[in-house]
Structures are given as C-alpha cells and as structure tokens.
C-alpha cells in the first residue's frame, strides 16, 4: 500500500519505511546509536529529498531512543548524571560546529572537509574498536591476568585524568572522573557531529567506552538518553526553521524503530560487551567502505538537489 508524504511530496510503499525503521531501530537498541548514518542515505535512495530525510530521521529517532532508553533504564543501564554532562558539552560543541560549517561554506570547500571528516572518523573509530574488542575477546579467553597488565599500561593517561580538577563519582557507571571530561569530549563529538550533519552516536559510544571507561551496557543506555535530547532539539529546529520534517514518514519509520529498539535492547543483554563492540565496529567499517566506494565510483547522476549537506 502506498501513502503520500505531505512534506517530502512523494509517495512511498509503507513497507519500506516500516522495514527500515525496524532494522535501524534494532541497531539503535543494541548499540546505542541513532542510526542516522544508515537511515538518511537509505531514505534518499528511496526518493526522499535529502533535507527531508535528515530532518525526519531525527524526529523518528526521538521515538526509537525513547523506547530504547526506557528499555535500558528498566534494567539500570542509564547513567543520567553522565548523560547530562555529555549533553551540555554536546550542545555547546554543536553551536561551534554550526559556525565552523558556515565558515567552511564561505571558503567553498565544505563538502570536501565534511566528507573527509566523515570517512576519517568512521575509519579510525571502526578500526580502533575492531582491533581493541578483538584483543579483549582473545584476552578474556586466556584468563584475567591480561586485564591487570592492561590497567597498569594506561596509568600515565589515567594519572593525568585523575589530576584534573572537579573529580566526581558516577555511580551507575562505577567510574570517577573530572566533570570537565564529559563536557570536553561531549563538546568534541558535538562539533564533529554538527560538521558531518549526523547525531554522532557512533562517536559518542567509543568516547564513553575508551575514554570514560564506562561498562558497555551502561554506554548503550546512556548514549540513547543523550541522543533522545539531541534529536528533540534538532527536530524542533528543523520543523521551525526549515519546515523539513515529514510527520507521516516519521510515523511510518517509528512504527518499526520503536519495536526494533526494544528487541535490540533484549538481544543486547544476551551479548557480551566485547561482542557488541566488535559488531558495531564491523557496521561502522562497512559504512566507511560504502562511502569510499561512493566517492570513487562514477555517480549515475551528476546533479542533485541543493540544501543540507
């Protein structure tokens, strides 16, 4: 059955957005990512204008991340305190990122910088996560000795972090950090996410795992919590300033994604932290390869709609 989308001004078979929502929602519940880096290009592929695809996806993520956050919160896997500081950092970073985009556009090579940042970030994060989780899976097989040597290796960086002012304990995550840490790294992700025009979940997850040293399951819940607030803000701004949110499309997507997020959260609990990390790493690397192909193969159309990135 086809439905007409009043803002995208196009007609779509309802099975497409519901199916896409289900698949991306599943990943969202599993890994704590919004999935914009997968959903937006897929929607464009199915004929949704690029600007509407990105804006509508953020509306849909509000539903999926509500569903996912709730599922993770019920089993105590959301660190609200950490989420809040990351959120504040991310918000401030986003403001800087938007200014950076304006400057880049004025210099005329915005697209090059955006694409390169995207490929590099995805590539670095994917590779690092893949290698690290592979190593920890191997170490876990050998026994616990490896963990001790690992923690003594990183003590230099650890000492530096401990020396920072405003140390506070994050109970849910079981870690003690300076308040500056989530603010700075949240801000860093915020700048990059605004430049790339994505939510930044795939960057925030590794930051929480490797820099903030939070347990993977709490990372997923906390990431979803802060994605929820980011996407509320983005949806409002998109609807208010660009009139790009297609409510019907969002409704079809969230039919699938809210259910997918719940199922993902259930599956996630059955998998180990390392297993989750390595699957996410593979997905991130697959997206990197896809973008590299897109950049190097001759496109079928050399013109596309202006607006957005």
């Amino acid at each position: 059955m086809y439905l007409y989308l009043p803002v995208a001004l196009t007609s779509i078979n309802i099975l497409i957005p519901v199916g896409l929502g289900l698949a991306v929602g599943l990943l969202s519940g599993l890994f704590g990512v919004g999935g914009g880096f997968l959903m937006t290009p897929l929607l464009i592929m199915f004929g949704i204008p690029a600007t509407v695809a990105a804006a509508t996806d953020s509306n849909q993520i509000v539903a999926a991340s509500t569903s996912g956050t709730y599922a993770h919160w019920r089993v105590g896997n959301v660190d609200f305190k950490m989420g809040l500081y990351l959120l504040i950092g991310g918000f401030i970073g986003g403001l800087f990122g938007v200014q950076a985009i304006k400057i880049l556009k004025a210099t005329g090579n915005a697209d090059f910088v955006i694409k390169m940042t995207y490929v590099l970030m995805l590539g670095i994060v994917g590779t690092y996560m893949f290698i690290e989780s592979l190593q920890s899976i191997r170490k876990a097989k050998k026994g616990d000795d490896a963990h001790i040597s690992e923690s003594s290796k990183e003590s230099a960086f650890g000492r530096f972090l401990k020396a920072l002012p405003l140390q506070t304990h994050f109970e849910k995550s079981g870690v003690t950090h300076s308040l500056l840490l989530p603010l700075i790294f949240g801000g860093f992700v915020g700048v990059l996410a605004a430049i790339m025009g994505v939510g930044g979940g795939f960057l925030m997850v590794p930051v929480m795992v490797y820099i903030l040293r939070m347990p993977m399951h709490v990372v997923v819940g906390t990431s979803l919590f802060q994605i929820l607030f980011n996407c509320i803000e983005v949806t409002f701004l998109q609807a208010y300033t660009n009139h790009n949110v297609d409510f019907i499309l969002a409704a079809l997507l969230l039919l699938g994604s809210t259910v997918g997020a719940q199922v993902g959260a259930v599956f996630g609990r059955k998998l180990k932290g390392e297993q989750l990390k390595i699957i996410l790493a593979i997905i991130v690397l697959a997206v990197t390869v896809k973008i590299i192909f897109e950049l190097t193969l001759s496109p079928s159309l050399l013109l596309s709609q202006a607006g957005g990135h």
Binding site: Y240, A251, Q262, L302, Q305
Partner: protein, 266 residues
C-alpha cells in the same frame, strides 16, 4: 394548462435537436476541423493514498497535420548541486549550478521527430522538444556551449530520473475519420509532480510551421489530511515541530509499555 406545459417542453426539445443538427452539419461540412484539446483528468487531487494518476489528452485536428502535445509548468529556476572530481579520484559536490527559465515539469510528445517536422525557429518560439528547451534555458555558470550542453544533458537525466521530464515520438497517436483527425495520448501522471497548474498545449504543424494551437489545464491540488499537514508544516512550524516531538515521545513510551506488559523485556 398541463397540455400547454407539455407543448412548451416539446418545443424546447425540438429546438435543441434542430440546433445540434445544424452545428453538426456545419462542423462536418467545413473543410478544416478546428483544433481542440481535452484532458480527461484535469483536476488531480493528492489525498493520503495518492500514488500518481493517468491523464489522457485527446482532441480533434485537421487530418493532414503533425501534432505535438506539451505539458509543462511555468518557467522557474532551480539551483542544483554539481558533482565533480576532486584530486583526480574523489567524486563530490564541487559547487552549484543555477538553471534559469527551466520549467519544473516538462513532458513533450509528438507524432514524428520534432526536429524533422518543425523549423528550428518555430521550435524555439514555442519551446518544443529538448533541443529547443536547451536553447531556452540559461545555465549559470556555464559560459561555453559545450559546458552548457554537458550540464543540460545531466539536467535532463536528473529530471527524467524523478519522472518530471519526459518525451516521446510516436506514442501520440493520430488517425483520420470522416475527414477529421482524431488524436490521443495516455500519460502516466507522476506522483513527483508537485501541486500547481500545468498547461497542456497541442500544436498542429504543417510545412514546418505551427499552424494552429489549443490549450487546456491540469490542476493538481492537495486535499484532506495531506493539505492540512503540509500547510501546518509551512505556516506553523513551531507547533508542527512540538506535535511531531510529542507524538514521537508518546509512541516511544507506548511501545515500551506494550513490551513491558507483554513481558518482552525480560
């Protein structure tokens, strides 16, 4: 009294019949048939379940003319992102191109190849066919002719891929009957065509000149929920945004509660 009324209505009937016969006689005895055009579906309503439509354009013409049917929206301008190679290997957006005097929708169908049946000047005057459209459209910045040609072809590819441009030769069928030409073409109306007025014109061509033309309109309009939602998205963006967010939050919580009740979370 009753008889009198009956007589009056009888008289009206007879008068109407006589008038029609006279018109028909005049019509059939005239040497040339006046060009007419009719679109069977001239008011397309975009409702919630809209997935495009079909429009048949038909009419009467002189039997010995060639015909061109053109459906187009008003000339406008469009800014499109332009892909190019960077550093020799990477395809990315390298700038924008502006297409001026280009209709958003352009669908042209003829009985024969337009360039064979029509003088270039005539084709340009009425903007008939892609080559005439290329001469009509201004592309900024594309100063050189070969640049313009290249990007116009890319523009056609882009427009045809979204079904907004179409052209055909021979699909417009014409036949003569009782000294008159009857023409007809059935077109798929794409759902990608946005709401608005579309001018449908038919041109009769003889000796490489347009000798007659006629026009009608297709009006595409959003109705019902579609109209209300798109109006709201445009006119009250803040309220629309807030409703979209609340609905998404509600759906997220709603599904969570269903899963909780169903015991799916454990």
């Amino acid at each position: 009294m009753k008889d009198f009324k009956f007589q009056i209505s009888n008289f009206k009937l007879i008068a109407a019949l006589l008038f029609c016969s006279a018109v028909l006689l005049l019509y059939s005895s005239s040497a040339r048939a006046e060009l007419t055009i009719n679109a069977n579906h001239d008011h397309i309503k975009i409702d919630f379940f809209y997935n495009g439509s079909t429009v048949s354009v038909s009419g009467v013409s002189d039997p010995d003319v060639d015909l061109i049917v053109k459906i187009s929206s008003a000339d406008g301008y469009e800014t499109l992102k332009q892909k190019g190679k960077v550093a020799g290997i990477l395809w990315m957006n390298v700038g924008t191109l502006e297409f001026k005097e280009a209709p958003n929708f352009y669908s042209v169908h003829s009985t024969k190849n337009i360039e064979d049946m029509l003088e270039k000047g005539e084709a340009d005057k009425y903007v008939l066919g892609y080559p005439a459209l290329e001469r009509h459209v201004e592309i900024i910045p594309a100063a050189k002719a070969e640049e313009k040609d290249r990007w116009f072809n890319e523009f056609l590819k882009y427009k045809e891929s979204s079904k907004l441009y179409a052209s055909s030769v021979g699909r417009l069928s014409a036949q003569s009957k009782a000294g008159k030409g009857l023409y007809c073409i059935k077109l798929d109306w794409p759902y990608q065509a946005p709401p608005g007025d579309y001018i449908v014109k038919v041109y009769a061509v003889k000796n490489k000149k347009v000798v007659e033309k006629a026009e009608t309109k297709v009006f595409v309009e959003q109705v019902g929920i579609v109209k209300r939602l798109s109006g709201m998205a445009k006119d009250s963006g803040a309220l629309y945004g807030i409703i979209s967010i609340i609905a998404a939050l509600g759906a997220g919580f709603g599904v969570s509660l269903i899963f909780r009740k169903g015991g799916g979370a454990h």
